[in-house]
């Protein structure tokens, strides 16, 4: 599964003679030299149009006082950023985002790892089970969020009704900061655990069976095999899953937005209990403030935050796994004998 970015192409072209080649070869040499760039160009063109340009344009907008409806947009330089850094509502949304992110991502990846190792065993109707874990991911986010929003309702919600049955007082899931984080994390986990489990499963299938066999012969327990063989060998995949979850988790919008209904749901509760950064961006760029410049500044700080958190994740994971080299697992005998 490991992807080596600096690996050489599989086939190195043979050395050519330094003599000037006949004319008819020149065209084919040009072709050989430049057509690979043409093949990969579509991605970069599309990325340029739909990725880099919006990014740069957002930055340009963030340097202006940009009322969405006005004809004039005066340049204000870094003012939006300085105001934003001193804005307690912005920092409140950062804390919410990180809180929901940690509450959802950590259990989600652990559960996915566990689920993947279960699915990796010999099971009856294996494919059915494997497909079933992906079902939550296929449903529409908005539909999931609405259903969970109803389940977690204060007065008519099923969760509070169940809590009542066991004698726990009703929890106001939507206007209690921590409770709303838990509810939204539950929604995210429900949707993404199966997806990550399948990615982990794919990586697990690539782990050579003989590693487990020799470990079993050496008397390693299932749990020990899991932590000493599976997890280290899955490290690149885990890093990938963590980065993807970081990007998704920090951009969380639909779930918390749809979780709240009624007037002004973009605030995520009366005291902004579960307002994420993307919601704060929307609140400023669109209703009710229509301040596009300020909203764009939020977008850029979000970008910076994602980069920082992703970097931290990678560093931590590298440390956890020890070196970046081959996993410290006992090699099968035949290899050692060399």
């Amino acid at each position: 599964m490991a992807v080596q970015l600096d690996a050489l192409p599989p086939v190195t072209p043979a050395e050519r003679s330094t003599a000037r080649p006949p004319r008819r070869y020149r065209l084919s040499r040009l072709d050989e030299k430049y057509s690979p760039y043409l093949y990969i160009a579509p991605f970069f063109l599309l990325f340029g149009v739909f990725g880099a340009y919006p990014l740069a344009y957002t930055f340009w907008v963030s340097l202006h006082d940009w009322d969405l409806l006005a004809a004039e947009h005066p340049f204000v330089g870094g003012e939006n950023y300085t105001r934003l850094l001193a804005d307690p509502d912005f920092w409140h949304s950062v804390v919410n985002t990180l809180g929901i992110f940690v509450l959802s991502t950590v259990p989600q990846l652990l559960a996915a790892l566990w689920l993947a190792s279960l699915l990796n065993r010999r099971l009856r109707a294996r494919t059915t089970w494997r497909m079933a874990v992906l079902v939550p991911n296929v449903t529409s986010t908005a539909a999931v969020a609405i259903v969970f929003g109803v389940l977690f309702g204060r007065q008519f919600g099923m969760i509070n009704w169940l809590l009542d049955l066991v004698g726990v007082d009703a929890i106001d899931w939507k206007s209690n900061r921590f409770a709303s984080w838990v509810a939204i994390s539950a929604m995210v986990d429900w949707r993404w655990t199966g997806y990550n489990a399948l990615i982990f499963l794919a990586a697990m299938q690539a782990v050579p069976r003989d590693l487990y066999e020799s470990a079993a012969i050496d008397g390693a327990s299932r749990a020990r095999q899991f932590w000493k063989i599976t997890v280290p060998l899955l490290k690149p995949t885990i890093i990938f899953a963590v980065i993807v979850s970081t990007i998704g988790g920090l951009q969380l919008f639909t779930e918390p937005r749809m979780f709240h209904s009624g007037t002004n749901p973009i605030r995520g509760g009366p005291l902004r209990e579960s307002q994420t950064m993307t919601m704060y961006m929307f609140e400023n760029a669109f209703a009710p403030h229509y301040n596009f410049g300020y909203g764009s500044a939020v977008a850029w700080l979000l970008f910076a935050l994602i980069a920082i958190v992703a970097a931290i994740n990678v560093v931590i994971l590298r440390r956890l796994g020890g070196t970046d080299g081959p996993p410290r697992v006992r090699r099968p005998r035949k290899e050692r004998a060399r």
Binding site: L38, A41, H260, S261, P270, A287
Partner: protein, 434 residues
Amino acid sequence: MGVFPRRRLAAVALVAATALLTTAGCGGDESAEGGPVTLTVDVFGQMGYQELYQEYMAAHPDVKIVERGTGGNLDEYSPKLTQWLAAGKGAGDVVAIEEGLLVEYKANPQNFVNLLDHGAAELKGNFLDWKWNQALTADGKQLIGLGTDVGGMAMCYRSDLFAKAGLPTQRDEVSKLWPTWQDYIATGEKFKAANTGAAFLDSATNIFNTIVLQTAGNAQGYHYYDTANNLVVDSNPAVRQAWDTTMDILDSGLSGKYGSWSEEWVSAFKQAKFATIACPAWMTGTIEGNAGPAAKGKWDIAQVPGNGGNWGGSFLAVPKQSKHQAEAIELAKFLTSAKGQIGAFKAKGPLPSNPQALDDPAVADSTNAYFSDAPVGKIFAAGAKSLKPVYMGPKNQAVRTEVENAVRTVDLGQRSPEQAWTDAVNNAKKAAAK
């Protein structure tokens, strides 16, 4: 791999890339010449135009009307409209604008057709004076929209719950229960003591909006902004008075805490979980939609405590980006004519802003079967001509959101009234400065 297929591949890739880019670049513009013209009308809430469209299309065979967004809530509608206007593309040919948002759109009138350039001036007599003036820009040179409805106030109540609580159920007697808001609270306490399993009112925000617009209308005619556009949330006695009255209501434990327009609010309508709701004329359509046919005849309409007032009311405007401006203006004129306003009133209840429509027996003598045949014409229309409008400043929506949210935190027990008032004032100032 030989040379030829590879070069062909490169060519295919290039063609694919250019094709992708060009299709992304241009949308199809339908030609405006010949054939029927399709007019898109963007609305929110319940405007009641369906039958009017049929009639208009029958009289104008070259026009086809498509309505988008019926039933949608204003919070979802307004950002979309703003984006369309900002992008210069996407808005309908005729768009509905609520009065609280009109002030923001009016600040950038270049986005809309000036209706004064299209013979709107001669229609002035068709609208209540203040309704006409609301849509005029500050310099009086541009008219953004034509008025549709106004929001005359009443108090809707469930007579079955009132009967259960041993209170009078006839609308005249109910109106006599609460000449003032203090009387409303006293009645609420009696209702609460009867333990019907329902709250006395839905939640804090609807009642607060009603009271603040009423007190401001009866006092100097402005609430969050004065007429010179200074933010006066903390210094306007009308706002503070409305705040205190609302706090008294909440303090008496009368609120069901069902956040307005939330899913729980809709469920509470269906399950008859509250007995009263402040209802501007346009709210009757919402109540009917939420409570459903099963509650027909269980709702009724009484006078609002305090003295009259206006909440809400909309306008129809034509964005400059419309490709069929002339046809759109004609349609807007038709929908806001006396006939159009009467039709909308009969369909979904928004109260006309047209004096002739208000006098028309079809409105003045009308009753509403859903609300136990309440004489809605008499209740709403009678006061409409003497309505005192409230002036709204440039960031009205943002400021109102902050004050409303502060009220809600008290409703949910998250803040004390004094803390919440501080929040309301500070956040309103912040929002106004953004």
